[in-house]
């Protein structure tokens, strides 16, 4: 589009390609006035890091879900009308089943490529959820959700929630034995909701379970409603990412005021295009080689039967585990049933997870009082408390998730089913605490190591004898690139007790009341860190691509003490306070 405007003057090697390009470019620009903005777009710089690919995997899986899903809609019949099967798959000949199940058999056995599309669709759904989870974990541990990216964090959580629902509903469509049992469990959970539960269930299923309505209803939600929402939210997500520019990992010359990387055109476009092909290729190969959801083996839904050892898709495993772990508490009061044994495990863990995740950026901002924009990611070790919380949550989730497959585990390790559940009941409480403590220690240990490296340089492993007979290990100076990474911490938030919430140095009255005390206490925990050696204060980071000499200062520096606060302060003033924060706030 921009070729007309950008072609170096006179360099008119007017080949036919150039002519066509110039023609189209002119045609469009005459109508859209887009040359300048498009050029800016093409030149947009994208930082690179392998973890930045996780979100792309999710995006491409979603696109593949749209493509394969549309193919499936051409053949799938979302109907619960009962019929007797006389199709290609002879083992189910004469079996009563729903039209939905029969059409799924038809897709698998009579439509060429149908089984492939079904399997790609299912694998892509799993990959989509796995990639979203990994992406969220990356965002969390690197602090990429911090100001100004809280909105995208919230959109991400919504995407995750919608993805779970979308997967659950899609998985229910084929109306096989497993998915029918899944719906039955859904109904059981809904019935447990106080006051409105039975009504919701009757409205959802169009009467008593299973009824005739649920598959067509889930179908339209699955192919239109949720994909529409997902598409809109993903668009907003990407737009915000574009507008705010991607975060970058700490490194030489990377600051909160720049983006270092390669331009969208042609580099990022080519890389991301390649990546789309990778994702599609991997999914196609998986679907060729690894069977997923062979519904013909499960048979059609049958309210009378249930097969043992059945597992939901992995992203539902945590719910399943929570339902298994939770004790069988239930009250009968005033003629009503409070089914805690269903309600709590079904609603509380996921509710806590999503609400906690949604509130965390704001909570952290309140605790640290850090109002600055952050564009350079944290190294997880440098935010020891956050990392410890993250690992604790993952442990908590992981234990419930494993318990969701406790029958498989019990079988595999030859322990009693009940023992696995008993262990999980304790582990789900104690595990996160241990994980928190351990992670925090490890992070602080790594910080200490970094500080030592900055101070003394790298250990080379070469031992040298001094003239006086003393042995010393030679230390190599830290290369500038690495130094920049190790020093990235100069932008970490300050402990509040150092003075106040703002620059004035006057203690903030808001910190005195009980809430203020709580905030100070939390603040001490969250900002706990091993100080950087003094002398690094004028962080290479803060000044951008900086001062080569700076490095020498640090190696002769004295005790790595609380004095490091100064270094933090330095970084803070440098990076944060000059951005207009308060003005215009109304």
């Amino acid at each position: 589009m921009t070729s007309t405007n950008e072609a170096p003057a006179g360099a008119a090697g007017e080949g036919p390609v150039e002519k066509v390009l110039a023609g189209t470019g002119t045609f469009l620009d005459d109508r859209l006035h887009a040359a300048k903005s498009t050029r800016t777009l093409l030149k947009k710089v994208f930082p690179d890091h392998w973890t930045f690919l996780l979100g792309e995997i999710a995006l491409y899986s979603f696109i593949i879900l749209l493509l394969t899903g549309t193919f499936l809609t051409l053949f799938f019949k979302p109907s619960m009308t009962s019929l007797v099967y006389h199709g290609t798959y002879s083992r189910l000949d004469g079996v009563r089943m729903s039209e939905a199940y029969a059409s799924t058999l038809n897709i698998s056995f009579d439509v060429r490529g149908g089984l492939l599309m079904r399997q790609i669709h299912h694998w892509a759904a799993d990959l989509f959820m796995a990639a979203i989870m990994a992406h969220m974990i990356r965002i969390f541990f690197t602090g990429a959700y911090r100001k100004p990216r809280e909105l995208n964090w919230l959109i991400g959580i919504t995407l995750f929630t919608l993805g779970m629902l979308e997967g659950l509903f899609g998985y229910s469509l084929p109306d096989d034995l497993l998915s029918g049992a899944g719906l039955r469990i859904l109904e059981g959970v809904i019935l447990g909701i106080p006051i409105v539960g039975t009504y919701i269930s009757f409205f959802l299923f169009g009467g008593q379970f299973p009824g005739m309505d649920i598959i067509p209803r889930l179908y339209i939600i699955h192919v239109l409603l949720i994909p529409g929402l997902l598409l809109a939210l993903i668009t907003a997500h990407l737009f915000l990412m574009f507008h705010q520019k991607h975060t970058q990992m700490p490194g030489k010359g990377r600051t909160d005021k720049n983006v270092v990387g390669q331009p969208l055109y042609p580099y990022f476009m080519a890389k991301t295009g390649a990546f789309f092909f990778f994702v599609f290729g991997v999914l196609a190969l998986l679907s060729a080689l690894a069977q997923i959801n062979p519904v013909w083996l499960y048979g059609p839904y049958n309210p009378v039967a249930m097969s043992a050892g059945s597992q939901p898709d992995f992203y539902m495993g945590m719910l399943e585990g929570a339902l298994r772990i939770f004790p069988n508490w239930s009250w009968n009061l005033w003629g009503h049933t409070f089914a805690w044994n269903v309600l709590i495990p079904a609603l509380v863990p996921l509710g806590l997870l999503f609400t906690g995740a949604a509130l965390w950026p704001f909570l952290e901002r309140w605790i640290t009082g850090d109002q600055r924009e952050h564009h350079v990611n944290d190294r997880p070790r440098n935010a020891a408390t956050r990392t410890a919380i993250g690992i604790a949550v993952i442990t908590w989730y992981g234990i419930m998730w494993l318990e969701g497959a406790n029958d498989v585990i019990a079988d595999h390790f030859q322990i009693s089913l009940y023992t696995t559940t008993e262990i999980a009941r304790y582990a789900v409480v104690i595990g996160p605490v241990i994980a928190y403590i351990l992670t925090k220690r490890i992070c602080l240990g790594l910080q200490r190591k970094d500080a030592a490296t900055l101070l003394h340089g790298y250990e080379t492993g070469i031992i040298q004898m001094r003239p006086n007979g003393e042995y010393v290990e030679l230390h190599a100076p830290v290369p500038e690139e690495e130094r920049a990474v190790l020093e990235a911490r100069t932008t970490a938030p300050l402990p509040l007790e150092a003075g106040s919430d703002d620059d004035s140095g006057v203690p903030d009255p808001a910190l005195r009341g009980p809430v203020g005390k709580l905030r100070l206490a939390l603040n001490r925990v969250v900002t706990e860190s091993v100080p950087l050696p003094v002398g690094n204060g004028h962080g290479t980071n803060g000044h951008g691509n900086g001062h080569g000499g700076n490095g020498h200062g640090s190696s002769v520096a004295g005790e790595p003490e609380r004095a490091a606060v100064t270094s933090g302060e330095d970084g803070k003033t440098l990076l944060g306070r000059d951005s207009p924060e308060d003005p215009g706030e109304h």
Partner: protein, 362 residues
Amino acid sequence: MSSTEGYTGDFPPGGGPDGGEAEASRAPHRVIGTPPPAEQRTLLGTSESDAPPAPPRELPADPDDLAGASRAEKIVAALFILAMLAGFGFIAAYIGLPLGASLDSVLRSNLALGISMGVAFMAMGVGAVIWVRRLMPDVELTEARKPLASPPEDREAFAETFREGAETSQFVKRPILRRSLIAATVPLLLAPLVLLRDLGPLPGTKLRHTVWRKGLRLVISDTGRPIRPADFGSPGGMITVIPEGYQTNDNALVKATAIIIKFEPGELKYPTNLKWTVDNIVAYSKICTHVGCPVALYEQTTHHILCPCHQSTFDATKGATVLFGPANRPLPQLPMGVDSEGYLVALSDFKVPVGPSFWERG
């Protein structure tokens, strides 16, 4: 940067937002949709005195290692040709491997289609990555980031515009207008909810009852055969039974499905209701009282009934009371007797609601 200049130059004569005259005099006449002649660009780019010189190029034209690049070019081309072949292979597999009546033919077709498709995409992907890495010169650019917050003037101006608009609209000043508008929206928000009412019937007491009634025979779920106590040789496994005549009624079966188990004399104990058993045969609901899975597993040695979903375990000898797991209530026992022909029949419906807890259950 200089694209603004380039841009105005491209306006068709007289088409500029303003100063069309000046443009027209500079730019030769040109039909919309055709590229401007080369001289025009030359004019715009360099010789015009007020136009800055063309910016220096920001991206190098070629990578440093040209020899390596041409090797890479061959590899990439080979990969792209592989992708093409695999793509044709996909079409060939589609046409050449029809789906027969056997599962094998389906799996063979799936394998061929999937692998050819996968190889095609992977080859494209790998090729493109090598292309970027080896053929495009390595660059690292730095782009400045501006603070996201607007300057205070802009915020103030926005606030002013907003205030002005609110004032001009009279929305703030005229409470009657404002309140009546809000009042008008209330029913409009409720209406869609009301519209959902016909999604399903009201629950009523439907969850309290099943189709079992006095005299209804228990039949084996697979075969539909009625059962005589004498058909049981010795105590043994668990048999799934359903009410006669409801074999194809899923809505009924979801609640009414039951299991029968025969015991040695004396094995059945309190709180099993022995009056509802026949010849040491007891019938329980098969619907788990946790969230409603069919309790499908039975361990003969321990007499444990196990729900495969969340492993609630019920003691079949003691009125199916809960031994372990998340279920809170025993599996309801079906009052059972025999009819005049000696077949097992229900004496009534279950005395308590079967299946998962619900609010009105009490």
